[in-house]
């Protein structure tokens, strides 16, 4: 396969719609993460806090079309002074939504869980627990993962919540097992990169880990059941630091963002496709056929400075999803990624929305798609379950039919001025979905 470049065409895409702009942190905001189960959005910062925002929707009522009638509101629920001694660089939620991990420049990873209301709040005059989120806080640190020798840059849970990965400027990637009692056991320390590791991300389909590094490469790791975790392939091509990674929802593609101002898409060739091209499959272990990853797209010319973040989420039926990217020139781009035309083709990236100066003059450090609702994720028969945390902090079941499309078209972005913004992909660019 060649490496087709997708360069900007003369026609421009519609702008992303700004839903809300929140002042957020007192210093650079590095990262945002949506809780996959509840309506919380976490951000973290150089100011060492984690901020939790809740979001709620009001619509015209059951059966109304959501487009054009829906209002989404965000409110700051809680500011957690994490106690980290330095910048909090990234936050990550477990798939259950009940655990939060923080990666800090103080070289540790913090593990947080929410206390039950009766333990965390004061009892009011009526005798019922009344959590006071600002003074007592509802999130408690239940553990600290130590071991890295220098700043932690990234932390991420696997799709089942059974594994956690962290990485650091010490060039290592650590894999931790999440144990039933809430403890974490280090399974492996992988020192494959020659420089800082900037980002780690698990595949949504298997326990395959990807890491991005200051050494300009991406590495993929697997667990050999008869042995240990190992790096099975290195993806080269970027000409400078790789800052961020995101797998496609199907797990067969990987997007990367780099200081070389490009976004690359790497696609997985399975065993059959490898043999057809005369390539030796890699990463063949018990229970897993081998494969190869090749660079199929270079999105060049969209950004004038470092691209700090990519995120790939599910999109319209029949497509590979929507890819968002942003960086130091203040621009956010969203592409729809379509299946390749033929056997030999590469995925097709089409710009569907963008915005300039998304946070004014500030660098954008992170873009993150809102989570999918459960019904759409696994095609299950349940009606969508989406816990809404309302003003009084009671969990409600938001189960009407209009929830099935979920939040996936909302995009959060964080910036150097500490702000958090949430955007919506305009309906016109969704086509006939």
């Amino acid at each position: 396969m060649g490496e087709p470049s997708s360069t900007p065409s003369s026609s421009s895409a519609p702008p992303l719609e700004l839903i809300t702009s929140l002042p957020g942190h007192n210093d650079r905001a590095w990262s945002a993460a949506w809780n996959p189960r509840t309506n919380l959005l976490a951000t973290c910062s150089t100011d060492r806090d984690v901020r939790l925002f809740s979001h709620s929707r009001s619509s015209g009522g059951h059966g109304d079309t959501m487009e054009g009638e829906e209002q989404v509101r965000f409110a700051l629920r809680e500011t957690i002074p994490t106690g980290h001694k330095r910048t909090v660089r990234q936050v990550a939620w477990s798939p259950s939504g009940r655990t939060l991990a923080t990666a800090s420049f103080d070289s540790t990873v913090g593990i947080w869980q929410q206390l039950p209301p009766s333990e965390s709040g004061v009892v009011d005059a009526t005798g019922s627990a009344n959590p006071s989120s600002s003074s007592t806080g509802m999130w408690d640190c239940i553990g600290t993962l130590e071991g890295h020798e220098s700043e932690c840059k990234s932390v991420t849970f696997n799709r089942n919540g059974t594994l956690l990965a962290s990485c650091s400027r010490d060039k290592s990637v650590w894999i931790w097992e999440v144990q039933p009692d809430g403890d974490f056991e280090c399974l492996s320390v992988l020192m494959e990169h020659s420089q800082d590791v900037k980002c780690v991300r698990w595949s949504p389909r298997e326990d395959l880990l990807a890491s991005a590094s200051y050494d300009d490469t991406i590495r993929l790791y697997l667990d050999d059941p008869s042995d240990d975790w190992f790096c099975y392939t290195t993806l080269t091509g970027h000409t400078s630091t790789v800052w961020s990674l995101s797998f496609s929802p199907c797990g067969n593609h990987l997007a990367s963002a780099s200081d070389d101002s490009t976004v690359r898409i790497w696609s997985r060739l399975d065993e059959v496709q490898c043999k057809a091209r005369g390539l030796q499959p890699q990463g063949k272990v018990a229970g897993r056929a081998g494969d190869r990853w090749v660079c199929t797209n270079v999105l060049k010319g969209w950004f004038g400075r470092t691209v700090y973040s990519v995120d790939w989420a599910k999109g319209r039926e029949g497509t590979l999803g929507r890819l968002a990217a942003a960086g130091g020139d203040g621009r956010i781009c969203v592409w729809e990624i379509a299946q390749p035309e033929g056997e030999e083709g590469a995925p097709v990236a089409t710009l569907i929305a963008s915005v300039e100066d998304a946070h004014g003059v500030s660098d954008i450090n992170c873009v993150s798609w809102g989570p999918m609702c459960k019904a759409e994720q696994d095609g299950g028969e349940d009606a969508a379950r989406f816990e809404e945390i309302g003003e009084d902090d009671d969990a409600e079941m938001g189960g009407n039919g209009s929830d099935t499309w979920g939040w996936n078209h909302l995009l959060a972005s964080t910036a150097d001025d500490g702000s958090l913004r949430v955007w919506r992909v305009p309906i016109v660019s969704l086509g006939s979905a």
């Binding site: 702008p15 700004l18 702009s21 002042p23 210093d27 650079r28 150089t46 330095r86 910048t87 660089r89 420049f105 220098s150 700043e151 840059k153 400027r169 800082d196 900037k198 200051y214 400078s240 630091t241 200081d259 004038g304 400075r305 130091g328 020139d329 203040g330 915005v355 300039e356 100066d357 998304a358 946070h359 004014g360 003059v361 500030s362 660098d363 150097d416 001025d417 500490g418 702000s419």
Partner: protein
Amino acid sequence: MNATATKDNANPTVYRPAAAAAGSGSTSSSQDWWRDDAVHVADSKAPFYRSGDPATSVAINGMEIDGQDAELREEIDADEVFDLIRSVTDPEHPLTLEELAVVNAAHITVTRPGDHPGAPKYPCVRLEFTPTIPHCSMATLIGLSLRVRLLHALPPAYKVDILIRPGTHQSEMAINKQLNDKERVAAALENEHLFGVVKGCLESASRRGATEDEWARKADELAKEMGIAV
């Protein structure tokens, strides 16, 4: 203080600094407040990226940029940037980067939107500095000091790239990469010792080319003006 014998470059060549640039602005109008170093907290912690109020300083898809920012941007050129950094001192010697010829205005490029077709929509500064010797171990520290100085002294709209003058250092590429990785820079500046040394280099930066004597005399004049002289 290090003994002379352990310094990288024990006998640096000292160049006579050019006269402090005309218009280097000892007086500041309210709109030039960002130039006046007295406004900046000298002992602030790691650099903070001044945001202003996002509601007023934002430009989304063609909306007007805050007028103040637009006006300030027009006034900054290579000479102004040079003025801001010329009096930063070397970490090892009590000499300014101008006196050591580590920085000069000819190696500074300022690009503003519209300067040429294809120019980015944000103003950029490209600053090249020349270490005194090709294996200067202080090069990264000097670069870091320059970065912090410009972070504090330029409006946040400016994107700054700091590079070693090509061919003047044996680890040119590695140092360039470090100085332009904002995560590494931010983490380094969270180190109190390192930040302390950087601050030391920046203490004199507001002199903008004036000599220590000139600077002291000016302070004396101001004191008299303000009625606190004996």
